[in-house]
């Protein structure tokens, strides 16, 4: 049964959700705009006897995550774009050693120090492997505070289920905003045996090793293939998205997180003008909902796609691959920490509808 709705900040809800998911280890380094995750943890972890360490750097924090995960614990770190860049080394090692961990990225505008306002410029580094080597992160993009809660709990389950890193990709808007959240009385916590964990042998006949190094090419290639098989399984089972109005949509918006929120308003405004607009909102950015996009592109009622992002056009590449030339795919993006206005998006919809140049 759902409990009473309380008004909370997105960042705090992430922290609360992690605690509810049984996470008792948090390692982080301060950076705007995710700081409330850390503040919440600094207080709560001490109160409940968990671990909170303010590390000397992002690099160190992600390696503490690696250590705690290797010891079999549920573990969280949070950061924002420049900090995530620093964590990429550790993220690659976590992928290589197949460790379960949850990393939150409350994205801000880049490149470089950039700014601290909301952006989605980290889509590439989140979904395409920001670190070295062939690997994937499971990437979740919540669009509301309630979803931040539910998907953060789920992130820990997925991490343990597949022994991999799950990244929650938010942005400054989602992290800083308050919305009502209804917590469940009983969390759905999946428990998995971790016979591989380094906890001390405690009578085991063989020692456990957590590593990502395989010097022999054949051994490493076999390991690579194992990873790729796992990723293929995830792509077949774990894709999540929300579809709105695809039955009769002429124009389909693709947008995740904050952009999907703005686009919802646009869909309503377009309907008032007699333009049927639908939306596919990827909830998992990897695995990417290619199939539904491809199927939608094949529908005769669909004339075009409009991808809306807070970047120069990153997810749009995956949308184009999925559409595979069946319909035109247009793009509207804002950068620097600015958000597109509803009017900007609506104007573009009108132009596409009229068949004009976009």
């Amino acid at each position: 049964m759902a409990q009473k709705r309380v008004l909370m900040k997105g960042n705090e809800v992430i922290a609360e959700a992690a605690l509810r998911a049984g996470c008792r280890n948090y390692f982080g380094y301060p950076i705007t705009p995710q700081t409330e995750v850390m503040h919440y943890m600094a207080k709560k972890m001490v109160q409940i006897g968990g671990n909170f360490v303010q590390a000397e750097s992002e690099v160190s924090a992600i390696n503490m995550v690696y250590g705690a995960a290797a010891a079999g614990a549920r573990v969280l770190t949070s950061s924002s774009s420049p900090g995530i860049s620093l964590k990429q080394e550790g993220i690659s090692y976590i992928a290589g050693a197949e460790l379960p961990a949850v990393v939150v990225n409350i994205v801000r505008a880049g490149p470089g120090l950039g700014g601290i306002q909301p952006a989605q410029g980290d889509y590439f580094q989140a979904t395409k492997g920001g670190g070295h080597g062939d690997y994937r992160n499971f990437v979740i993009a919540p669009a509301s505070v309630q979803e931040l809660y539910e998907l953060t709990v789920e992130a820990f389950n997925i991490a343990d289920r597949y022994r991999m890193l799950v990244m929650i990709l938010g942005d400054g808007t989602l992290g800083q905003m308050m919305e009502p959240v209804a917590y469940r009385e009983n969390e759905n916590i999946e428990t998995y045996e971790k016979p591989w964990a380094c906890t001390g042998r405690q009578g085991r006949s063989e020692h456990n090793i957590v590593t990502s190094i395989y010097i022999e090419p054949d051994v490493l290639e076999a390991k690579n293939r194992e990873l790729q098989d796992k990723y293929a399984l995830i792509e077949s089972k774990e894709v999540r998205y929300e579809a709105i109005g695809l039955e009769d949509a002429e124009i389909v918006i693709t947008a995740f997180s904050t952009c999907s929120r703005i686009s919802r308003n646009v869909i309503r405004q377009a309907a008032e003008l007699g333009i049927k607009v639908g939306m596919i909102r990827p909830i998992t950015l990897w695995p990417f909902p290619s199939k539904i996009i491809n199927e939608t592109a094949a529908k005769s009622s669909v004339k075009a796609f409009l991808d809306v992002e807070l970047n120069a056009g990153q997810m749009v590449e995956d949308v184009r691959l999925a559409v595979n030339g069946k319909k035109p795919v247009y793009f509207h993006g804002r950068m620097g920490g600015n958000l597109p206005t509803q009017k900007e998006i609506l104007d573009k919809i009108i132009k596409i509808h009229e068949g004009g140049a976009v």
Binding site: R24, N25, F27, N51, V53, A55, E56, S57, V59, S60, A61, N63, M64, V65, Y66, G67, A68, A69, A70, A71, G72, A73, V75, E89, G90, Y93, A97, C198, T199, G200, R201, Q202, G203, H207, N208, I209, V210, T211, S212, I213, I215
Partner: protein, 252 residues
């Protein structure tokens, strides 16, 4: 028949890959023996680092986690914080600990992490073929200081133990060598003490081993031991820098 010598169960059967005359093997052995003798092999997690000892995880028979270059103290922090009743050690070389991992080791010590770090200083990068390390001596020829380390150009060697000893969180810091039986026994006593410090919950324990690298020093094994005594010890004096008189009553 009485057994006078046997392999320690603290090591696996995997043959070492270390070069002849390198003292990593001795250091491995005394750490492994100490774990067995103290009865902690089953409750210890080791952290291997990057360098010649990258696959020390295959030799130590306790649970082992392989860390990224320089990050072992952070990885050990994550392990120890979630396994408070277990023992955790890192095994790191001079490039790993004193160069790329400087921040991690200083802050683990400053936080007083209840872990042991075994630091192997052979004044050179071994694995990547003999480059200058932060601990390379002045005048020492390496592949990246081919005319000898020049202070005006490449700066000065870092005395890590002395540096760590400045930090309040580090409660036991000692530098040892392995040049003869007596020193090997002293080194082993230091390893034991480091684990005891961790068990006491007092703070961070650090043992620096002066070690040889005949291959990259371009010397015969015995000659290397002599070079260590003549050249390294004047720069890196042996002894206990902190915690010589610690009261190590183990916390119940």
């Amino acid at each position: 028949m009485a057994i006078v010598f046997e392999r320690t169960t603290g090591l696996t059967d995997k043959p070492f890959h270390y070069c002849p005359g390198c003292t990593h093997g001795i250091i491995h052995r005394i750490i492994a023996e100490t774990m067995v003798e103290m009865g902690i092999l089953d409750s210890t997690v080791g952290v291997a680092s990057v360098g010649c000892t990258y696959n020390s995880y295959e030799y130590f028979s306790c649970d082992m986690v392989q860390a990224a270059h320089g990050r072992a103290p952070a990885v050990a922090t994550g392990i120890k914080r979630s396994l408070k009743d277990k023992l955790v050690f890192t095994y790191q070389g001079d490039g790993d600990l004193a160069s790329i991992g400087t921040a991690e080791i200083i802050h683990a010590a400053a936080r007083g992490e209840k872990i042991c770090t075994f630091f192997v200083n052979n004044a050179v990068y071994g694995m990547t073929s003999g480059q200058m390390a932060p601990t390379t001596l002045l005048g020492q020829v390496t592949t990246t200081s081919p005319f000898g380390r020049d202070a005006s150009y490449q700066g000065y060697p870092i005395n890590v133990s002395e540096l760590i000893a400045q930090l309040t969180g580090a409660v036991y810091v000692e530098r040892v060598s392995l040049t003869d039986y007596k020193n090997v026994m002293k080194a082993k006593a230091a390893v034991k003490k480091a684990f005891e410090v961790q068990m006491s919950g007092k703070g961070f324990a650090f043992v620096e081993f002066l070690s040889t690298c005949p291959t990259n020093w371009g010397k015969e094994p015995c000659e290397s031991l002599e070079w260590l005594k003549e050249k390294m010890i004047p720069q890196y004096p042996l002894g206990c820098f902190k915690g010589a008189d610690l009261d190590l009553e183990v916390k119940s």
